[in-house]
C-alpha cells in the first residue's frame, strides 16, 4: 500500500482518458491533460464538479484563446515552460477559471503538454504536488507516442503542401485525393500566408511558431511548412466575412506575439489573394514572393502593405520605371514645378505630393505640411497654373502621382 501510494501511476493504461481518471481518483479533483499547444488530450469524468473554463476547453477540444492569453500575461504559462514543478493558479472569474494547479510534462528539455488539476473543494497539499509530478512523469511516454504519430502526419502534409506550392500537382482529383489521405476537408476558399523572418528559422523558433499557430483559434490553418526564413501557411478563408481584414489582423497578432513572447522581431507577413482553386496555389505563392521583392525595393512606402492587392501602384512600379527610362520621358508639369521651386525656393512639388498622398484632402494635407489650409489652397491654385494641372481630372492626377513617386525613387 505504501509503495502504491508512493507512486500510484506506475501501472499500465490503454488510453489517456483512463489515466486522467486515475489521477483524478488519486488527487480527488477534476483533471485535464493538454498537449504543448493546449489541445485537449484527455479529461477525467469521475468528478462532475468543474468550472466554465474547463467546460469550454472540453467542448472545443482546446483551451479557449482568451484563457491562454490571460495565462501568458499573468505569467502562468511562462512559469510552466520554465520549471517541471507544479504551479498554482489563482481563480480568475472574468475568464471562468477557478483555483487550480498545473504542471508541465517534460521530455528532456522539451515540454510535451500539461496536466491541470482543479481545486474545487480542497487545496492540493505538498504531497499532492509530488503526486502530480509523478503523474506528469508517467504520462510522458504516452504523449511522446502521440507526438510521433502527429509528426508523421505533419511530414506527409508538408510534402503535399510543397507540391501544391511549386505547382507539381496539376490534376484536381489528385489534389482532392491527397487532402483525403491526410483526413483534411479542403475549404472552398483559401489563402497562402507567409511570414518572413529576419534569420533562418531555428527548430526552437519552430516550436514557438507551432505553439502560436495551434493556440490561435481565429484562423484555421490547413497546411503549413517552413522554408529557410519563411513560414508558409495555407489558411481557410471560408466563413470569414472580410477575409482581408481577418488575415491582416491575424498577421499582426502573430507578429506581435512572436515579438512579445519570444523576442523575435521584424517578421514580415504577406498574404495572397483569396483562391478557390487549389491548382493555383503556386500562383498565390509566387504572388507573395513578388510582394516581398517589391517590399524590398520600397520598404518605407510599402511597410504597411501585406498583400499584392494593396500594393496599389507599386505593383506596376518597375514596369513604368523602365518605360519612362526608355522613352526619356519628362513630366512637363513636374518639370515646371521643379523649376519654379528652384527659382523661388518654394516647395510646390512637395506640396503636391502630400496633397495627393492625402487623397486630395486639403485639411489633412495642410496639417502634414504645417501650413494654413488657405495657404495650401493658394499653392494648389499656383500648381495648377504653373504645371497646367487640372485637379478635377483623375487621369492627370494619376500620372502626376506616379511620376512623382518615380522621380522620388530615382532621386534617392
Amino acid at each position: 500500500m505504501n509503495t502504491r501510494l508512493h507512486d500510484p501511476f506506475k501501472t499500465a493504461f490503454d488510453s489517456l482518458d483512463e489515466f486522467a481518471d486515475l489521477i483524478s481518483q488519486v488527487l480527488k479533483c477534476p483533471i485535464t491533460i493538454e498537449d504543448a499547444n493546449h489541445r485537449l488530450l484527455a479529461y477525467s469524468t469521475h468528478d462532475e464538479r468543474t468550472d466554465p473554463a474547463r467546460i469550454s476547453t472540453i467542448i472545443g477540444r482546446r483551451v479557449p484563446e482568451k484563457v491562454i492569453n490571460q495565462l501568458w500575461k499573468e505569467g502562468t504559462i511562462p512559469a510552466l515552460l520554465n520549471t517541471n514543478e507544479p504551479i498554482r493558479v489563482k481563480s480568475m472569474n472574468d475568464i471562468g477559471l477557478s483555483n487550480r494547479v498545473a504542471i508541465s510534462i517534460w521530455k528532456q528539455d522539451e515540454v510535451l503538454g500539461f496536466i491541470w488539476a482543479i481545486e474545487i473543494d480542497k487545496f492540493l497539499s505538498v504531497e499532492d504536488f509530488s503526486l502530480l509530478k509523478k503523474a506528469a512523469d508517467a504520462v510522458k511516454n504516452k504523449l511522446l507516442q502521440l507526438q510521433t504519430r502527429k509528426n508523421k502526419k505533419e511530414e506527409s502534409s508538408q510534402e503535399f503542401f510543397w507540391k501544391l506550392l511549386t505547382g507539381h500537382l496539376k490534376a484536381k482529383d489528385e489534389i482532392i485525393k491527397h487532402f483525403h489521405t491526410l483526413q483534411i476537408t479542403p475549404p472552398t476558399s483559401f489563402a497562402i500566408l507567409v511570414f518572413q523572418f529576419q534569420e533562418n528559422i531555428t527548430s526552437k523558433e519552430e516550436h514557438y511558431i507551432s505553439y502560436l499557430l495551434n493556440t490561435d483559434q481565429r484562423m484555421k490553418i490547413i497546411l503549413y511548412t517552413i522554408d529557410c526564413n519563411q513560414l508558409i501557411l495555407l489558411v481557410s478563408a471560408t466563413g470569414l466575412e472580410n477575409p482581408f481584414d481577418e488575415l491582416d489582423h491575424f498577421a499582426r497578432v502573430f507578429v506581435l506575439k512572436m515579438s512579445e513572447r519570444y523576442r523575435i522581431k521584424d517578421i514580415n507577413p504577406v498574404y495572397s489573394s483569396i483562391c478557390e482553386d487549389y491548382q493555383k496555389t503556386n500562383k498565390a505563392y509566387e504572388e507573395i514572393l513578388e510582394v516581398f521583392s517589391i517590399k524590398e525595393k520600397f520598404p518605407l512606402e510599402t511597410k504597411d502593405i501585406f498583400n499584392y492587392q494593396k500594393l496599389g501602384i507599386y505593383q506596376l512600379f518597375d514596369l513604368i520605371l523602365e518605360k519612362r527610362r526608355n522613352e526619356e520621358y519628362e513630366n512637363y508639369s513636374l518639370k515646371r514645378l521643379h523649376e519654379y521651386d528652384g527659382k523661388h525656393n518654394s516647395n510646390l512639388v512637395e506640396t503636391l505630393e502630400v496633397f495627393l498622398n492625402k487623397d486630395n484632402n486639403i485639411n489633412d494635407a495642410a496639417k502634414e505640411l504645417n501650413v494654413h489650409a488657405n495657404t495650401l489652397n493658394y499653392r494648389l491654385k499656383r500648381i495648377s497654373e504653373i504645371g497646367a494641372v487640372n485637379f478635377k481630372d483623375p487621369n492627370q492626377k494619376i500620372i502626376l502621382y506616379l511620376d512623382l513617386k518615380l522621380a522620388k525613387y530615382q532621386g534617392i
Copy 2:
C-alpha cells in the same frame, strides 16, 4: 492720252510699292496690295488719308486677324476667291474698316493676292472698277516672281524641318546654322503640332492650310511641312503664358475653321510637349505619333486629349494590359463586385467607375447615375465592404481605376 487712260498700268516698275503708288495716283485713293495670305506686299504713300484697319495692316505687315475673320463671315473673302471682279465692302466701324473696294489677283485658277482701294472721299466709278481690274492683271507677274522666291525658301525650310523631325541633325551648331541660313531666329522653346486629316492632303487643301496658318496670328509658326495626311508644324512656345492652353485653343480653332470654311472635317490635332532643345525634335515628333497610335485604340476615351501629357493613364495602358495578361492577374475587389452584381443584379461596378471618373465627387457621380446622393453613399459603403476597398487610399483607388478601364477595354 486716250490709250494711256485705257491702260495706265502697262509700264515697267521696279518695286511693288512704286506700283501701289501708281494705282493710288490713277484712282485717287489709298491702295494696299496683299498676297494670298493677307500679308502686306505694298502700300501707297501718296495719299495720307486712311482708316484704322489699314494702319494696323501696315504696322503689322499683315491684315489683322479679326478683320480677316470678319471678312470671311460677312462674305467678302469667299466672294473674292470666287471671282476676278472688284468687290465693294461696306464700312465696318467696329473693326475700323471704312468703305473700300477689293479685287483678287489671279494666275490661272489660283489667287495670288489682293488689291485694296479705300474709298475715303469718293466712291469708285464703273470705270475705276475696270481700271482696278487692269491693275490686278498688270501686277500678276510680279506676284508670281515673289511667290516663286518664297516657294524656294519654303522648300529648303521643309527639307530642314524633315531633317529635324527624323533626327538627322545631331549637332547643335549645325541646327543653328540652318536656321540662320533660312533667316529664322529659332525660339528658345517650341512645340511640334500635327494635324492628322482623314485623307491624304491634296494640293488644294494645302492652299487652304497655308492660308489659315498664315492668317492666324496667335501662333508663331516657325516651320511646317506636309506628309501624306499629316500637317506638321513647329511652333514657337516662347512668350506664351500657358503654352498648353494656347496650343489647345489654336488647334481647336484650326480644326473649326477648316471645317467651317472648307468643309474639311474630322481633323485630329496632337501636339508635343514644350521643347527647348532642337536636337530633341524627333523625340517630340515620335511622342506625337505615339499619341495618334493610342488615340486609335481608345478613340472614345481620348477624344478630347491632344497631348501626351494629358493622355494620363492611357500612356501606360498597353504596358499594363500586357503585364496583367502575363500574370493572369485578377483584381479581387472587382471580382467580388462583379459577383455581387451578378447575383443581385445591382451595378456596383458601374457605380464605382462613375464615381472614380468624377474624381470622387459624390454629387457629380450621383447626377450621372441618376440616383440620390445618399444612394451613392450607401453603395460606396457597400463597395468598400464587399470589395475591401479603402476609399481614402489613393494607391488602391488608382489600381482599381486602372483595372476597371482595362477590364472595360478587354470586355469590348
